[in-house]
Amino acid sequence: MNTTMQCAETGSIPARPAKKRYNMKQWAPYIFISPFFILFAVFSLFPLLFSIYLSFNQWEAASGVEAMQWVGLDNYKYALSDPWFLRSLGNTVWLALASGVPQHLVAIPLAAFIHNSFKRSRNLVIGIYFLPFITSSVAIAMVFNTLFSRDYGQINVLLQWCASLPLVGGLFPAESIDWLGSSLFIKPAVAFVIFWRYLGWNLVLYLSALQVIPKDLYEAATIDGASKRQQFWYITLPQLRPMIYLAVTLTIMGNLQLFEEPFVLVAESSGVSQSVMTTAIFVYKTAFSSGDFGTASAISWLLFLIIASTTWVNNRIFSRNERREAK
C-alpha cells in the first residue's frame, strides 16, 4: 500500500530490487515467528480440532481415515452410560483428593520450615524434594514395585519388624500386605507415590512465594508479641493465598489427568488394575484396546469439561474468599 502511494507521488517506477527488499522486510517478522505457529497448528490446533470432529464419529483407527462414520452424539451417550467410565471418574477423584490434598497440607508448613530453618543448605534440601518430580516414571515404577512387593518388599519388611516390637507391635499388621495386588490397598499405595512425586513441585512454588513476603511484617509481629504459630496463621498463610490458588489449580488440572503413575505401577492384566484405572487410562484403553477412537475422543472432551468446571469452582471459591477479606 505504501509503495503504491510513493509511486503515485513521485511518478517514478521504483527499482525492482528495492521492492523485493521492502517485501522481505515486511514479511521477515512473520517468517521468523512462523515456526511457532506452524508447530502450534500441526501439534496443537490440528489434533484439537480433529479430536472434536472424531468425537462425533465412530472410527476403527487401524482401518485408516476412510473408515470414519458420523454418529453425532452417540459416542457421548455411549460414554456416559458406560460403567467403566463412571468407575474411572470415581477412581480419578479418589486419587486426586487422596494424593492432592496432602500435597498442599504438607508442602505449605514444610516450605515455611525450610524457609526459616535452612540458610546455606536450603537449595540442597529443595533439590532433594524436587528430585522425584524430574525422575523418569519408569524408574519410579521399578523402585516402588520393589518397595511395595508383598513377599520381597522393604515396606512389608519394615512393617513386620515394627509388628515384632514390644508394646506397640500390635498396632502393625503381622501379615504381609499385598499393596499392588489387592483392591483395598492399591489405591492408597498409588496415591502415596503421586503425593511423593509432586510434593517437591508444590514445595518449590510455596518457597518462591515465601521469599517475597516482606520481612517487616514478621518484625512488626514479633515486636507485637506474636508467636511463631500466630505469625504462620496470620501472616504467612494469607500472604501465600495467591500461590495456594495457583498451586491448587495446577494440582486439580494435573490430578484429574492422572495417567503415568497408576499405569506404570500396576500390571494392566491384573484384575485389580481397574481399581486405579483413571479416566485418562480409560481413554487410552478405549482407543488402543477397544480400537474405539471416537468414544475415546468423546471421553477426553467430557474430561475437559469436568476439569474446566472444577477449575472454575476453585476460582470462585478463592475469589469469594478474597472479596470477603477485602470487605
Binding site: N145, S149, D151, G181, S289
Partner: protein, 429 residues
C-alpha cells in the same frame, strides 16, 4: 506367482548362517530365486520375536543381498499401539508388521492390512502346510487373511520335578483332573511350603481357553454373542476360587517382578502357559533350576492354544513384493522356523518342521525330556479357535470380575452376568 525360495531345493541343504555357526553350504543359484528389486524393507517387531528376525538376517542377506532389512523393535504393547496409529494415519508404516496373537483379531479385521489370500500373494496355497487353527486366527469376518502365522503356543504344564518328588507327587496326580491338580497343590504346600500356582487366575485363564469346539471363540460365539456366562467360564471361576481357598497360589500376576521372583526363589512349582514359556524359563525366569523342570500335558486332558505370532503387510507399505518374500522366508521356510524354535522357543506353526529330527532332541533344561514332541502332539489336536477384535476387552473385563470373586467373594454367577453385560456394552452388541 513368482517362484518362491521355499520351493527351491538347494535351500533345504542350507545351514542357517546366524546362530548356526557354519555358513550356508550353498546359496541357491540366482535363477531359482525371485528377482527382487533393490530396496530397504522395514520390519516392525517386538521382543523376543525380534530375535528370530535378527538371527535369520544373515541368511536372508545371502539370498537377497539387494534387499536390506531394517528391524524396528518396541515393547509388545507399544509396538501394537504404534502400528495402530500408523495404520490410522496411513503413514510411516513398516513393510512387514509382526502381530501378537492378542492383537491378531483386531488387525486382521482392520481394512488397513493386505489380504494375503489375494494375488500376488496367494497365501491360500500354503494353508495346508500350517497347523489349521493358526490360519483361522488371522482370518477376518470378511474372509480375508490379515497375516501369516509364524509360531504358536500349545498349552503346556511346566512343573518342578524335584519339588514334586519331595512331596511325593507324581505327574499323573497333576494331570489326571483339575481336582487332582488342586489336591496335589495342597499336598505340595503342606510338604514343602511351595505354591503350586503363581496365580489362581492362570488356572481360570487356561480352563477358559481349553477344549473349545472347532469354530468356537473364547469369549464370543459364531454370531458374535457373548459367551462368558457359559459353563466353561463357571467351571474356570470355580476352579480358580477352589485354588485360592486351598491357598495353593502365590497370588501374583504374570510378567510382574513378583511373578518372576516366585520362580527364581523356588516359591512356585508349576506354571501353565504356551510351550514358548520354556525359552523364558531357561533364559531368565529360572536359569538356576535347570534340569529340575518338566513339561506335561495340561490337567484333565485340556487342549489350549496360548499365544502365537504373525506377520502381515500394511496396504500402504512401500515394498510389498519384497515384504511378502520376507514373510514367506520367516514363515514357510522350515529351517527358519526351526531356528526360531531353537533360539527363542517359538514353536513352529509350519507342520513341515514337525518331522525334523530337532523335534526329537532331548532338552537339558528339562532333564533330558523331549518337550518338543509333547508340544507337537498338543498342537496337532488343538481345535480351530475363532478370534474376535474385542477379545482383549473381554479378557480385561473377565479378569476384573475374577478378581472380585477371588478377593472380595463376589458370587460367581453374578460376576459372570456383570461381565457379560459389560462386554455386550463395550462390544456394542
Amino acid at each position: 506367482m513368482k517362484s518362491s525360495i521355499l520351493g527351491a531345493a538347494p535351500l533345504a541343504a542350507l545351514t542357517l548362517a546366524a546362530g548356526v555357526a557354519a555358513a550356508p553350504a550353498a546359496v541357491p543359484p540366482a535363477a531359482v530365486l525371485p528377482a527382487l528389486a533393490p530396496a530397504t524393507i522395514t520390519v516392525a517387531s517386538f521382543p523376543d520375536l525380534d530375535r528370530a528376525v535378527k538371527t535369520a538376517l544373515p541368511l536372508w542377506e545371502k539370498l537377497y543381498p539387494q534387499v536390506k532389512v531394517k528391524l524396528v523393535s518396541l515393547q509388545i504393547d507399544d509396538h501394537h499401539n504404534s502400528m495402530t496409529t500408523a495404520l490410522a494415519a496411513g503413514a510411516r508404516l513398516p513393510d512387514v508388521m509382526a502381530i501378537d496373537f492378542r492383537y491378531v483379531g483386531s488387525f486382521a479385521e482392520s481394512k488397513g492390512m493386505e489380504d494375503l489370500l489375494q494375488p500376488p500373494y496367494g497365501a491360500g496355497q500354503y494353508r495346508a502346510r500350517f497347523v489349521p487353527f493358526t490360519f483361522v486366527q488371522a482370518t477376518s469376518s470378511r474372509g480375508t487373511l490379515g497375516a501369516m502365522p509364524a509360531d504358536l503356543g500349545p498349552g503346556t504344564l511346566f512343573y518342578r520335578k524335584d519339588l514334586m518328588d519331595k512331596a511325593g507327587i507324581k505327574e499323573s496326580d497333576l494331570t489326571a483332573s483339575w481336582e487332582s491338580y488342586i489336591a496335589a497343590g495342597k499336598k505340595l504346600k503342606a510338604a514343602t511350603g511351595t505354591y503350586l500356582l503363581a496365580g489362581a487366575s492362570d488356572l481360570a485363564d487356561i480352563v477358559i481357553r481349553a477344549n473349545l469346539k472347532d469354530g468356537e471363540g473364547i469369549y464370543f460365539g459364531d454370531k458374535g454373542q457373548v459367551l462368558v456366562d457359559s459353563p466353561r467360564f463357571v467351571k474356570a471361576f470355580e476352579l480358580a476360587k477352589a485354588a485360592r481357598i486351598a491357598g495353593i497360589d502365590a497370588r501374583t500376576v504374570a510378567w510382574t517382578g513378583e511373578w518372576a521372583e516366585g520362580f527364581k526363589r523356588d516359591k512356585v512349582a508349576s506354571q501353565m502357559m504356551g510351550s514358548w514359556l520354556s525359552g523364558h524359563l531357561a533364559k531368565w525366569l529360572a536359569p538356576a533350576s535347570s534340569g529340575q523342570w518338566r513339561a506335561a500335558n495340561l490337567p484333565a486332558g485340556a487342549l489350549a492354544s496360548y499365544g502365537g505370532s504373525f506377520y502381515g503387510i500394511p496396504k500402504k507399505a512401500a515394498n510389498k513384493t519384497q515384504a511378502w518374500e520376507f514373510i514367506k522366508f520367516m514363515t514357510v521356510n522350515k529351517d527358519i522356523q526351526l531356528h526360531s524354535l531353537k533360539e527363542i522357543g517359538a514353536f513352529p506353526a509350519l507342520t513341515a518342521a514337525y518331522a525334523d529330527p530337532m523335534m526329537d532332541e532331548p532338552q537339558a533344561y528339562f532333564g533330558g525330556q523331549k518337550t518338543r514332541l509333547l508340544a507337537r502332539d498338543t498342537a496337532a489336536k488343538i481345535p480351530v479357535i475363532r478370534v474376535d477384535k474385542f477379545d482383549a476387552v473381554a479378557r480385561d473385563i473377565v479378569n476384573m470380575e475374577l478378581e472380585s470373586v477371588l478377593a472380595q467373594n463376589k458370587d460367581i454367577k453374578t460376576a459372570l452376568a456383570d461381565a457379560k453385560a459389560l462386554i455386550t456394552h463395550r462390544a456394542r452388541r
